[in-house]
Each structure stands twice: as C-alpha cells, then as structure tokens.
C-alpha cells in the first residue's frame, strides 16, 4: 500500500519489584502488547509515568496517554491537560475518600508525558520516509535508531539528569502554567525512514539505556534489548536480573518499541 505506515509495535510495562501490577503507575497508549499494522493516517502514541508520592497518579497517567494518543497536537497541550484534569477531578470527587486521601487529592497527582506522532509518507513522496513529532514533559525518553546508530534522543538527558526531579504535569491547573510559555522547548521533530526503530522508555530503563550506550555499541545493545521483548515474561525475567544486580533503579518500567517497515 502506497503512502501508508507499516508499523511493528511491542510494549511491555512492569511494576517495581514488590508492587502488584495494579500498582504500576506507568501507562502507554495504544494499550497493545504486540501488533503489526498499516496506518494511512498519522499514528500517535504516548507514554506517561505517574509520580509515586502522589495519589491517583496511575489514573492521571492513564488519562494523559489516552488523551494524547487520541487526537493531540502540541499546540493544544493546555486543552489536553484540561480534558484529563476534568476527568481526574470528576473521578476523585465521585468516590468517598478518607481524610488522608482528601488531603492527598488536594495536593494533586503528577506524571510525566511523552507523546509521539508519526506522519505517513506524503502523496508526492517516492520514498518510504516521512516526518515525526514529539513532545516531552519530564524524563520519559524517546530514542530513534537508524542503521544501528542513534539518530535522536528526546529529551536529551545524561545519566546524572535522571536523578534530578523531573518536570511533571499536575492535576492542579495552577501548577502547569510554566509549561505554556515554554512549549517550544518541550517539542522536537525529525524524519523517519523505513527500517528505523523508535524506543520510548520511562526513566529507569531510559537511564540504563543511556548508561549502556556509553560502553556498548548499539549494534549489540539493540538486538539484546529487542530479544527480551518477545514476551512480557521474557522482559520480566531480564528486568528482574538487572534489578537484582542493581544495574537499574527499582521503579515501574515501561518500554515501547516501534519498527517502521518497508
């Protein structure tokens, strides 16, 4: 099919060791584990990481990715946030909360957000290439790999940067006003070609990936990573070993792999 995106998609998300899957505060959309599909319209996806110290942050992360993957353009970020906030506030107002939870709801929930949009090849294009756009708030990262070489990382964070307090989106409208003036800094774009790989990762795995790249060539690192994405069980086993060896922070961990096919 001409002017279509042929996408291979895999996603895995696991809670931190000691927590149940229901306590995993990472979220991704579309919520598909593995699929190959063809899209003739722009394809959008999103990953978010809810902050552990706040309440109902799993819900907040899920609302953000659902809104972002549905119909989002970076210019419309305030509207997206407002829509997710309205749903979050609607839910928390609808349940009877003990006093400690009421206080926590007043403090609000927080989460990172990474959104990515891949455009199909234009109708005039003779090559299987196109543009991609991304927006990131916080330390959930995107990596683009072409021919075993890192072509883009967004946001550009070093290993040390992952230990700082990231910017987070809040359910309290007043806490997000700083973002609206710096939208340009939160966005990036690039081009894709058939054969490219995109990896979207929450902070623990992204920090590991940045650290590993410094000592292992991508030609070895990428196949190693992809080989454990065959199933959630395989990914879980591999991640457990990394955590036991203290090679990775014990945190909710999510990876999305997107391969653009010929």
């Amino acid at each position: 099919m001409k002017n279509a995106l042929k996408i291979q998609w895999k996603a895995c998300s696991l809670p931190k060791l000691g927590n149940s899957p229901a306590e995993n505060e990472d979220a991704f959309s579309p919520e598909i584990e593995q699929q190959s599909f063809t899209a003739q319209t722009p394809f959008a996806c999103a990953v978010a990481d809810g902050a552990t110290q706040t309440s109902f942050s799993r819900l907040w992360a899920r609302l953000l990715v659902a809104e972002a993957a549905r119909n989002f353009q970076p210019e419309r970020l305030p509207e997206l946030i407002a829509a997710a906030q309205a749903k979050w506030l609607g839910y928390t107002a609808s349940v009877e909360l003990p006093w400690h939870a009421e206080e926590k709801v007043r403090q609000g929930a927080f989460a990172t957000l990474l959104w990515m949009n891949i455009q199909p090849p234009s109708a005039r294009s003779t090559k299987n290439t196109g543009a991609w756009h991304a927006l990131a708030i916080g330390d959930t990262c995107l990596f683009q790999i072409r021919k075993k070489t890192l072509r883009a990382q967004f946001p550009t964070l070093s290993t040390a940067d992952f230990n700082n307090h990231p910017w987070l989106l809040s359910t309290n409208p007043g806490r997000n006003t700083g973002f609206w003036n710096s939208l340009d800094d939160l966005r990036t774009s690039g081009d894709w070609a058939a054969g490219d790989d995109f990896l979207l990762m929450t902070d623990a795995l992204a920090a590991w990936f940045v650290h590993e790249q410094a000592k292992t060539p991508l030609s070895r690192l990428l196949p190693r990573l992809l080989s454990v994405l065959t199933s959630t069980a395989e990914f879980s086993f591999w991640l457990k070993r990394l955590r036991e060896d203290a090679d990775i922070k014990n945190d909710d961990t999510t990876i999305v792999w997107i391969h653009l096919e010929n």
Binding site: K16, G18, T52, Q53, S55, F56, V95, L97, P98, W99, H100, A101, E103, K104, Q107, G174, N250, D251
Partner: protein, 281 residues
C-alpha cells in the same frame, strides 16, 4: 552512602517521639502570657506531624506501611501515649495510627482560594496526643526506653532507613546524665546509618535567642544546652536540604540536630525537618 535507603513497604522506617511531661510544660511558650501552654502547643504540633506522616503514607484510599510510630511521654515515669486499640503499644504501623486517633476534631483553617484571596474552611483534625504537664523530667529513663524499643527494631529492619528519635523538652534531665543513654541510642544502626536523635527545646523565655542546628557549642548559653548539643546527632543530608528549604539556611552534615529555645514556628519547623520523608518511594 548513609541515609539514602528508600522508604517503602519492604524497608519501612520508624519515628519515635519523646515528649517531656514535666510540670513546667504548663507555662506559656516563650514565657509570654497569653501564648499557648508549652504542653498544649507541643501536643498540637505533634498531632499535625503525625497527620502529615499519615498523609505522606496515603496512596489512593489506603495508608501504606511506610513507617512505624511511637510516642512516649515522660513525667511520672515513661508511658506510651498511643490510645484506642493501640493502648500500651510502644510502636504502631502508620495505618493503625490512622485508624486509632483519640478523637477527630473539626478545626477552621485559612486557605488560599486559588485566586489570591483567603478563605476559611473546616478541616478534620485527628488528635492522637493530649497535653500533659505533671511530673519530673526523667529524660534518661525515656532514652533507655527508646533503646529497648529500637534494639529489636534495627535487628528486624537491617536494610531500612534508620529510626529518627525526636526529643521535645523544655528543660534538663533530673534522673542523670542523658548523654550516656543518648550515645547508646545513637549507636543503634541499620546498614543505612545510625539512629538519628534530634532535640527540640521549647523556649521559656521570649528574650532568649533561638539557636537552630549549631555547629559548635560555643554559642550555647549554659551547661544544660551544651549537654543537649552533645546528645544530638549530626543532621543527615536530607534534613539539611529540608532545613535549607524551610529556613533558608545553608547547612552541612556537621550541623547538630538541636533547636534550642525554639519559639512557636521553631518547634513546627524542627518537627517538619525531622520527619519529612525525603526517600519515600
């Protein structure tokens, strides 16, 4: 590196409060007529701190077992102040603390209306501790009791962030030299560090200078205050950061965990610095 252990349900931490119940605690704070009694103010501040700890352990509709809490009063002997189903327990999990206040009062608070104004709202105020001001100052006995509570605790939680003990007093021990049990208490350790002993001394004199986290005992006015300096632990880095945020003062880890002649704000700030869980996950 010490004092970096993550506080979670697998590796919880412990806060133990020692509250001076001596008769002098009936006097107004800073000695100013009309100010609240020291005992009442300390009890209120402690109730707020416990409330903050419950909220910080709150996750959705549950309270997670991130901490164990103990509150010992010392005046006529040393007694646990926990009530309800927790009566007689030296330490209780934070979710059980949440379920067992002595009562829940409703208090009016002033809050921002979000548009630059201030509104009065009614908020629930759980009370776990009532003021008491009758008796002596058996500080050594209180520290000995803390030791007996924390010896098994550190054995059972070898990987945890170590216990924090906060001693709230307005005076001098009258059952011996508290530096001796304080040294033993501070020697109790997990793999993440030694037990932290902080001293908050409530002021009885409005003209006395408030001294926050001194580096040496040179500016302290008397023998009793210098003893408190020696008793107290050095501040871990996380507490230095919180102190910087709340008080705007730069501190290094050689600052001692002592607030001497604390006024109303000083008591509240010292408690917050001692109990804000920086490593909570």
């Amino acid at each position: 590196m010490a004092y970096t252990a993550e506080i979670n349900r697998s590796t919880p931490t412990c806060f133990l409060f020692l509250i001076d119940h001596s008769t002098s605690m009936v006097d107004p704070i800073m000695g100013v007529p009309g100010n609240p009694q020291k005992a009442r103010f300390v009890a209120d501040a402690l109730n707020k701190v416990i409330q903050s700890l419950v909220v910080s352990a709150s996750k959705d509709v549950d309270v997670r077992r991130y901490y164990q809490i103990g509150v010992l009063g010392y005046g006529f002997g040393v007694t646990s102040l926990l009530g309800g189903d927790l009566q007689g327990q030296d330490l209780a999990w934070i979710d059980d603390i949440y379920k067992n206040p002595l009562r829940i009062e409703e208090r009016i608070k002033k809050e921002s209306d979000g548009a630059g104004g201030v509104i009065e709202v009614t908020r629930k105020f759980p009370v776990w501790v009532d003021p008491v001001s009758r008796g002596q100052t058996p500080m050594c006995a209180a520290l000995e009791r803390a030791i007996s509570i924390l010896i098994p605790w550190v054995e059972e939680h070898p990987q945890s962030y170590p216990p924090t003990v906060i001693n709230l007093t307005d005076g001098e021990s009258n059952d011996g030299d508290p530096r001796i049990p304080a040294e033993t208490l501070k020697s109790l350790a997990t793999a993440d560090g030694n037990t932290i002993l902080l001293t908050v001394h409530a002021s009885s004199n409005q003209f006395a200078q408030q001294i926050f986290f001194p580096y040496s005992d040179a500016d302290l006015p008397d023998r009793a205050s210098r003893k408190m300096f020696e008793m107290s632990s050095s501040l871990p880095v996380q507490m230095c950061r919180t102190a910087q945020e709340l008080l705007g003062i730069d501190l290094s880890e050689s600052a001692k965990g002592l607030v001497y002649n604390a006024d109303i704000a000083g008591i509240v700030q010292a408690l917050e610095i001692g109990t804000r869980p920086g490593n909570l996950r």
